[in-house]
Symmetry: C2
Subunit: 556 residues, 2 copies
């Protein structure tokens, strides 16, 4: 039987490609501004031209479809251009997490195997001794704001340097025809430092990012104007663009044709200045950045005029939320993770919300929020059965959404585990209230979230355990006002080493930093010596019990 709904041969099927996000703003936002700190102001019309120029620069490098192009940069207009031009040219954008320890950064480059590296001169120390000759990287493009030349930086690999980004762009033709292709083509990849072992790569297709963008715009758009996204907003990220595509906001803001401000390297004073001068009205960050910003504002005697701020990465505490509200920031919670592209839930506000006390208002802003549009969120018992929405019974939060990583990059086993039972496992323990509000109560995995960065407790344990005096060690996260969480090392000393001091053990962690094995923020400041570590029935360290036992002690 023939299909009566046969599309006509010349009908346009409309694949969901990143280039389609530009359809509206190409026509409506030509004169809107994009700003890079105090360094550059340009119109969307320039941005469109520069995307085409960048595509031509890349086209000159003899790449193949789905080749990886890696970027190491601060939050800049250049990074935004890469967000579009690289995937629109059918290459895969790798956003390199420059905050990882140097060896981890190189690990991610070795693993993703980019053909091209765009690197900001300020990150040159991270890669200047990299053995490019043994790597996948054939071309280096130099990004610079400080008049630093790429000359003689790369030694024997100097011949890989194609040139300076700005010079290349200026010389390139502004005519480029972005082709249509399969919407399931991968657009971006980046690495998440999990609880154990090496960072794992996640990846997202054009279709996934387009759907994430639409759902983000809709979910934030339907919030009341005071908290939600509205045409006329001015957007600035305060989550790095290498961190889950700055939570998808650069795509959303561009699709809507909003004025955008990219702050470069994060410094509280310059961010505060940009917020005031450019009239930034919506942003997002981790609690640590919010704290820095509040501190700076307080010392400058400034407040915020209803700045909308979505907090993610780690838990927004009620104290911090209250302080932020009092300083004029409309602060609330978004939840997600690298594997989820990332938006999963948001605090809900409605135009008909009943009047509530400040305390109740603060409380709801600090919960995990309600699932955003299209997200199917369930709480599973250990046997995979579903918990009721009763606000009491907890289980693992598992997800379906149109934008979840479909595996880990070249790590099928971890991917299969992630998707056990056909839902994506967050490893977060949560409950759902009757009204649909999620509340994360605990983490299955043992990671410490400090200043928005993951610290693998296992990794720190491994290093500390190498000290000759240590019999057993467990590292847990304890609440910290400034960083959200900080690692606490709970240590059992060997009988012959009972007079070992914390500083002795700390020294080995500092050595690991020097060797580039761990980041500096991974070194614990707090050490606790005990006779025995609590264990679970199967003999594993019982960290849940340890958190209860030791968390408060250490606050002395």
């Amino acid at each position: 039987m023939t299909n009566p709904y046969q599309p006509t041969a010349n009908a346009y099927e409309f694949p969901l490609l990143i280039k389609q996000l530009l359809n509206r703003c190409c026509s409506t936002a030509q004169n809107q501004e994009i700003i890079y700190a105090d360094k550059k102001r340009m119109a969307y019309s320039d941005f469109f031209v520069r995307i085409h120029q960048l595509a031509n620069v890349l086209a000159g490098l003899n790449l193949h479809k789905e080749d990886v192009v890696a970027v190491m940069d601060w939050d800049s207009h250049r990074f935004l251009e890469c967000y579009f031009a690289i995937p629109m040219s059918q290459y895969v954008l790798q956003t390199v997490n420059v905050r990882l320890s140097p060896d981890k950064v190189l690990y991610t480059l070795n693993h993703a195997k980019p053909k091209v590296l765009l690197v900001n001169s300020e990150f040159a120390p991270l890669v200047k001794d990299y053995q490019f000759e043994n790597s996948s990287i054939e071309h280096i493009i130099w990004l610079d704001d400080n008049g630093v030349s790429a000359d003689n930086v790369f030694g024997v690999n100097q011949n890989r340097v194609v040139g300076d980004y700005e010079t290349l762009i200026e010389a390139a033709s502004d005519t480029f025809e972005f082709q249509d292709f399969d919407e399931n083509t991968i657009a971006t990849t980046f690495y998440t430092s999990g609880t154990t072992g090496n960072p794992k790569g996640v990846f997202f297709s054009h279709r996934q990012l387009v759907l994430h963008t639409l759902a983000e715009a809709a979910s934030l758009g339907v919030l009341p104007q005071k908290q939600g996204l509205v045409l006329g907003d001015v957007y600035m990220p305060m989550t790095p663009m290498f961190h889950v595509m700055a939570w998808g906001f650069p795509y959303t803001a561009t699709m809507l044709g909003l004025k955008q401000v990219y702050p470069g390297r994060y410094a509280p004073d310059s961010m505060l200045k940009l917020i005031a001068e450019e009239k930034v009205s919506i942003t997002h960050c981790v609690p640590t950045i919010l704290q820095m910003l509040l501190k700076q504002a307080q010392s400058d005697g400034k407040t915020f005029d209803g700045l909308k701020m979505i907090i993610g990465g780690s838990r927004l505490t009620e104290g911090l939320a209250k302080t932020a509200l009092q300083a004029g920031i409309e602060v609330y919670t978004g939840y997600g993770m690298s594997e989820t592209a990332p938006l999963i839930s948001l605090t809900e506000f409605k135009s008909d919300d009943p009047k509530m006390s400040l305390d109740d208002d603060v409380k709801r802003r600090c919960m995990t929020g309600k699932p955003v549009l299209m997200v199917d969120a369930q709480i599973w018992r250990e046997d995979g059965s579903v918990q009721p929405q009763d606000g009491v019974q907890t289980g693992e939060l598992v997800l379906r959404a149109p934008w979840l990583t479909q595996s880990y990059f070249k790590n099928a086993d971890a991917g299969q585990e992630l998707w056990e039972g056909g839902y994506m496992h967050t490893q977060d323990i949560a409950l759902i209230q009757a009204d649909g509000t999620l509340k994360i109560t605990d983490r299955l995995k043992d990671v410490i979230k400090s200043g928005g960065e993951w610290i693998s407790s296992l990794e720190i344990e491994t290093i500390l355990s190498l000290h000759p005096s240590v019999a057993d060690v467990s590292v847990i996260g304890v609440r910290d006002e400034q960083w959200g969480e900080r690692p606490l090392a709970v240590i059992v000393l060997k009988p012959d080493f009972k007079d070992t001091k914390a500083a002795d053990i700390k020294a080995i962690a500092l050595q690991a930093v020097e060797k580039g094995l761990i980041a500096k923020y991974g070194v614990p400041e707090q050490f606790l010596f005990v006779d025995d570590l609590p264990k679970t029935s199967v003999g594993k360290h019982d960290k849940k019990v340890m958190r209860e036992l030791y968390a408060s002690q250490t606050e002395i």
Copy 2:
């Protein structure tokens, strides 16, 4: 080479299916209300149960995948249930336009070949003499609000009656597992009465409707709260649910978990009552309905408290917009057509709009607006080349969007013409301003070709409508031996101006020529005075009928 981005076998691919629109509201809106006029109030939790029950009723009818299920009903909770349960069961929902002439209604049934007909007792006269025995319809489900039984209604076809909707629902199990299937499966079909010949069927897939819903929510969501969509809104349609899925709003409102009010048969007094009592805050309709509503409100001495209203179907005139604004209605324009699912453009409002005069504000609300998210709108010259965005040069508005009908149902030739050159042809003549605002200046079908020149009938109508004696006017092209076509003005005079002569009205057109507003050849020589203008089922001037009625008369 193996694909390094291979999805893991148990990853969920997330097809874009109508059932996924329910993910969020299933968890967050269980207690929210859905109301059917003064006849029924229920919670979303009931609605979810009833969808499952309806699916079980349909499952008992031995249908096959993609069989058509036709619905003839007023705007009701039942229709909303059909919007979900029918496509979610992998059948195709045909929304029957009951305002067409009886023979056209039957034509659409004969053409779409539904297996099941759900018919409201009030529409029984339309189908009671239908030869079901020679038709595709095997099952009839009876919808009734008036205590009218289906007994003896269908004569020899009485055996096709499965039962009463409400009784069947109540008896059905509430357990049904909605399966996943290909997102390109067709979900809905309906007929558009074109300018010539029989109605043509358009059709939309699950994927298309999901994307339309997301883009509609986002595009309306990011407008300022005064005009846009916000959580807390109360939604009521005033465009029939058989008409392009009530512009997609029932899907959007359900996805967001809004309170919804379905008004049944449209009567100005009961609609006005529902708006006031249920605190309806957002709706949409054609100008004719707005006029009726304003008249009723005026006679009742009532105003509207900022009711948001999107006007489509035909042009919102400045006079009407001003009256509506003054009555407290936040009125503005949406543009689309049956072939476009339908949303294409909306009046834009921004939180940082400069202060503007009432006249300027009214003017922008009456323009065609800016393309909504994801829409690629172009203005083509006759040779298919693209006009610049200069606010001057006109051409045919052509479109790409993720939700355009991919052909006409069983009419490949018309489908091919619709998609000539890979863009969908609207047959509307338009221009685009530098800021992206579209302005429809005419319909290709309404353009009069005189002596090789185009005469815009809309333009002539606007000018003639300014004459104080004119209540309504339509300008059509009539055959002319010398010029090919010439304009004929068909005029309804206001009651107090019944002795106005053609020459009086012609004088205003001649003034417009003197002022350089129109060309001399645009002035009609022929004027016809009538008591009423023929209208289409959706309240538009029916120029097709006028051409048939008046073209020959005037040749005398």
